[in-house]
Symmetry: none
Subunit: 207 residues, 4 copies
């Protein structure tokens, strides 16, 4: 499942350290100029080492993008796992999960935007790997929904609702020029949860 980026460096600790520097530098750059407009020299500089060193830790420029995507997803997933209490089985749990997920999307909107706009530049393999992570995340939402509902929902409906919630979270960041002019984060969240609960025949939560 894990897709490793080859390197000629032996020291695992160093690899970790250097790649963190790399991702940190690269995200900012990608955010501003996109993957294609960012040069490897810029990445090296932003990472605090030379172009030669950069290539000791990756094989191709694309590897940086992969590392960045992987990093972001890992961060997002990690946060979602913390946030979603799988044990609690009530409708409050659903609204909490949505609320937490939206908050996360708000905090990481730049990173998420970068990732979505650039995944297409990844190779088939890498793309598949990243997409799988996305599937995992949607699946987490599915579980929360299923657990929270007082009735049985069809597999299809479950998937659809989970995906809807998922894109509503992204929408906040992707369409920020529209949404964030009309709503505060709180308003947006409350209203989306309200619509969601009505569509699921649930009584609105006491937020």
């Amino acid at each position: 499942m894990v897709k490793n980026v080859p390197t000629s460096i032996k020291d695992q600790f160093l690899i970790e350290k250097r790649r963190n520097q790399m991702v940190k530098g690269a995200v900012t750059l990608f955010k501003d100029k996109g993957f294609h407009r960012t040069t490897t020299r810029e990445i090296a500089e932003a990472s605090g080492f030379s172009i030669g060193t950069l290539y000791e830790y990756i094989r191709k420029k694309e590897d940086v993008l992969f590392l960045v995507c992987d990093f972001i997803y890992e961060r997002v997933k990690e946060r979602m796992e913390q946030v979603i209490d799988m044990e609690n089985k009530s409708v409050d749990c659903l609204s909490n999960a949505v609320r937490s997920y939206f908050k996360l999307m708000d905090e990481m909107q730049d990173e998420v935007l970068v990732m979505y706009q650039e995944v297409k530049a990844l190779s088939r393999d890498a793309k598949e790997y990243v997409l799988q992570k996305e599937r995992d995340m949607v699946h987490m939402l599915e579980i929360v929904i299923e657990n929270s509902l007082p009735y049985t929902i069809s597999e299809q409906d479950l998937k659809l609702v989970a995906n809807n919630i998922f894109v509503h979270g992204q929408m906040w960041g992707f369409r920020r020029w529209l949404m964030q002019k009309e709503f505060t984060m709180i308003e947006y969240t409350d209203k989306q949860i309200d619509l969601l609960f009505k569509s699921l025949n649930l009584s609105s939560p006491t937020s």
Copy 2:
């Protein structure tokens, strides 16, 4: 309002014709490799003329992207206008509009995907121009919703619902690897309309 791409050609009819060739050729290319990975020579070749001729009809590579975005939105908008019957004021009207819009998104998913993944490469001005078209489209949905509802809806709710529908339409194309494996177009549409109507306290339409 209109943003024209400068050209050194005088024959207006020819400009129209050549630019259509250009857009047609470019969309396919952008679909496959993205804007940045597509070379101007490839665009020229796909358009059926030489690189020199290409540059008689545009100033910069970016102009091609703008032309493509403009073309797509124009097509989408045109179709949406045909499809949405502004006179009819019933809930059927809403479900029809959503149905037609989803169908359109299904038919033009490649084009729409291209547009969304590449607008960011446009200059500030061009981007603003294209984004305005998107706003127009969302606004069309707002009008339909407002007209169809038997009750008064708040401005904010209206905007939110319209945007939700809008992204659900895109979702069908953008997340096709997920959605189109689970649903047929009909299923997807029916289920989304069902959720929508419930969230709006409307009784499900007789589709």
Copy 3:
């Protein structure tokens, strides 16, 4: 001796007319941007006709430069001939000639500058043709000097003095950023004539 630029047009009068338009347009352009930075399209536009028509009257872009150089020299030579009274044989004649020549260089400094900076771009033949005209002009100065002097001067000295006068005339235009800040045209002329006369053992003219 005459170097004709081939054309496919039969009407001699038209050729004359069009080429005058051409030279007039081109000189301004060359003055501003130099020969290489000026495009044939710009020349055509500045001449008041299309690029197609331009090429009916010349074969290559270089022909325009030749025409321009030819035109300028012709104008300069013409003026010099008017100005130099070959009959009068006194030292006044020399100072008058120098004065007139300097005045001419002042009036045509842009044109002369253009010509000198661009002749090198001409083909060997054309360059030789244009250079011959320059020799003719220096020769005119030689004759005036010889006629004006009350004593016999060696061939070499004659050539040297004539060339000195010639470059002093150019200097006014070529080094204008230096000379024209220090001298008025009158001052410059008076002082140069003064130096010239002293170097020729002539008593200063009563200007």
Copy 4:
């Protein structure tokens, strides 16, 4: 005062070395075909490295021209400084200075020709910088003249004479097709000094 051409290379010694190669290669090329007709690839090849390496040491093609101009002037100035003995205050000093300057112009005629025909292609800033160096050189001549004269000369006359000497030196190279057919370097120098001394009311030197 110093105008540096940016580079991405860190090793100062290497920069010096490579730029010398560059200037050497470029001068020959510019001599033959002029700046505009010379391609960057030709410059790279003549310099002994690849086009990529060329651009590690400059930013734009124009930088090469600037480097060439700068190099030539530096060389000329250096030589003039060696040659002009500022202490000695006699008329011999003047004739020696002129003699040395002419000799220098003879040796560097190609370089000087290149520079003068191409400075106009420099950007405003670079042109100003190069022109200042020329002013410096004329100023050196002014000082020699002033020191050599047994009488006081007006500021204007001083400037005029210095500029005359300056262009007479250039004339030997610029008008070589005329001058070098009529005179040997010695003859040309002797005769010009003779005319100069007469115009300054000095008795001819015993050269």
